[in-house]
């Protein structure tokens, strides 16, 4: 546990120095600020536009952080060989992976907290309300960000940072389009094609479970226990990706 904590602390120190974290933060802040003026041009109420834009920007920031920081965090260690400095010590490889993830998640959670504070502050200043569905949406996006980072870490254990970034982006897009697959396999009568789609549907995570922007915007009620189930679903994927990362990294020649 101590080793994971130490590696996590070191990763956090390293990530804090990465300018991309601040660029993404700035990007989200800018989008939220712009959404204030977009509200005037829209047929919807200004608050609805801000909510929609803000939550979408926060979701995309998860992808950006995973692509620009998550995939590099391990690849950079291997290419610069700083990994030797750690794995030559009496620590297990899984501790290295978990430490890296924990450190990265800590900084990104802090970043996300700042985004959330700015978003909520803007909403309140413009007469909006902090609804329960809004808080749930923010928790869901945070969980999605944690999944994206674990996926990026997983891809970077067996491929180059460029490919890992591509895989992470594809994973994000596929995860959000997963519902379309289910519609296709239900409508298709050809059994093999339907089976392949079914396998894909169950293999890929459904990131749309973490997208409840519509409910926030239209102020619709959430089903009982939806948030808890979404978070559990997300945690299971995080555990799966981390276990796979540990197994692959354990066998990797450095």
């Amino acid at each position: 546990m101590n080793a994971i904590f130490q590696i996590g602390m070191n990763t956090a120190k390293e990530t804090v120095r990465n300018h991309v974290v601040y660029m993404v933060l700035l990007f989200v802040v800018l989008l939220i600020v712009l959404s204030v003026s977009f509200g005037d041009w829209s047929v919807f109420a200004r608050i609805q536009v801000i909510e929609d834009f803000g939550l979408a920007a926060m979701s995309v920031s998860g992808l950006l952080l995973a692509v620009f920081i998550g995939v590099g965090i391990l690849g950079r260690e291997i290419s610069s060989k700083t990994v030797y400095h750690v794995v030559a010590k009496p620590i297990a490889r899984y501790q290295f992976i978990l430490g890296k993830y924990a450190g990265l998640l800590t900084v990104l959670a802090l970043n996300y907290a700042i985004m959330t504070a700015f978003f909520m502050g803007t909403l309140v200043c413009l007469g909006g309300q902090i609804k329960m569905t809004l808080v749930s949406a923010i928790i869901c996006i945070g969980t999605e960000m944690a999944i994206m980072i674990s996926a990026a870490l997983f891809f970077s254990t067996f491929t180059s940072p460029v490919l890992a970034a591509m895989f992470s982006t594809a994973f994000y897009i596929a995860g959000h389009l997963n519902d379309l697959i289910s519609i296709r396999y239900i409508s298709k009568s050809w059994s093999l094609y339907s089976l392949v789609l079914k396998i894909l549907y169950y293999l890929l995570p459904n990131l749309e479970h973490f997208n409840i922007r519509d409910r926030v915007v239209y102020d619709a009620a959430m089903p009982q226990g939806f948030l808890e189930l979404a978070v559990i679903y997300g945690c299971l994927y995080i555990v799966l990706f981390l276990v796979l990362s540990c197994v692959i990294f354990q066998k990797k020649d450095l």
Binding site: A3, Q6, I7, H85, A88, K89, L254
Partner: protein
């Protein structure tokens, strides 16, 4: 007792798109005795770094068995008593020297009590006192290498594994490193280090493992290796009579006249030197000096590899 044991170890890397097999180490066997300084020699691409990585559990062998302090190198406990210094110091550039040492100490689960004092002592020992707050990226390569040595000293490890630690250092830095290694060896630390520099082998090591093209070419004491390369003995005498010249030449000696009119009698290693000495005594000729003529260690170490390359 052997602290590191390699038994018929093979490592084959898979490279490229078609996963072409590239053997790095082939059926390699050697051992490192506890408390002995062992040099690990071989030309570039001989498999030294791969072997060291296997010792540290960074690379898995394709076949064979490796034991480090009686444990499998993939078990983290096997590295509890090992300090490793690589050819290039691979440190986190965002950390200061002190933070780097503290990070290493914590990964080694060193107790917090007294760690600050130990860090200061280690920094003084390697000549980095007063530089604890300096960022790693602001240090020269030599200084970073000193920091790596400070880290190794901080752990009080019984085994030092060094991968060409002295290459790239200036003569003063090399001498400084050698002195520290010598002091560690006197304390009974097992030192296993790979190098190209024969001077380092001669001045530090008692044993040597020679690797060539991934195979163990030789392992044993330096003295035995030098003995294998002994060509004969040069005996310098003031003068030689015709009779003595003939007698000596009959015994297989080579006679040559030196610049100062003295005579050099070379007794090849396969001839009986005692008989030559007896002949000189009988002819009342006294030796002025006797020296062994040896092939330089570098020549012995790399001769075989060169022969293989020539073929």
């Amino acid at each position: 007792m052997n602290i590191i044991e390699f038994s018929n170890v093979t490592k084959i890397y898979r490279k490229g798109f078609w996963a072409k097999k590239v053997p790095a180490v082939t059926d390699c066997s050697f051992s490192v005795e506890q408390g002995v300084v062992t040099g690990f020699v071989g030309p570039n691409g001989a498999g030294k770094t791969t072997s060291i990585k296997m010792i540290l559990g960074m690379v898995r062998p394709s076949a064979g068995r490796i034991m480090v302090a009686g444990k499998n190198p993939h078990c983290p406990d096997s590295r509890k008593d090992i300090a490793y210094i690589s050819e290039q110091p691979y440190f986190y550039h965002h950390l200061t020297v002190r933070e780097t040492l503290l990070f290493a100490a914590r990964l080694h689960a060193r107790p917090r009590l007294g760690i600050e004092t130990d860090i200061e002592k280690a920094l003084v020992r390697v000549g980095l006192d007063g530089l604890g707050q300096r960022k790693i990226k602001d240090l020269s390569k030599g200084m970073q290498q000193r920091c790596a040595m400070a880290q190794a000293l901080l752990m009080h490890s019984n085994i030092l594994v060094l991968d060409e630690p002295l290459s790239g250092l200036d003569p003063l830095g090399r001498r400084f490193f050698r002195d520290i290694l010598r002091a560690c060896a006197e304390k009974g630390t097992t030192i296993f280090f790979s190098t190209h520099i024969i001077d380092d082998i001669e001045s530090l090591c008692r044993r040597v493992v020679v690797l060539s093209k991934g195979r163990t070419e030789y392992q044993g004491s330096i003295d035995d290796l030098v003995a294998k390369g002994t060509l004969g003995t040069d005996i310098v005498i003031p003068e030689v009579t015709e009779t003595l010249r003939e007698v000596l030449m009959r015994t297989g000696c080579e006679i040559s006249v030196l610049a100062d009119n003295k005579t050099n009698v070379f007794v090849p290693a396969n001839r009986d030197i005692v008989q030559c000495q007896r002949l000189l005594c009988e002819h009342r000729v006294f030796c002025e000096s006797m020296t062994k003529r040896c092939t330089p260690l570098e020549e012995i170490l790399y001769r075989r590899n060169r022969e293989q390359t020539d073929l």
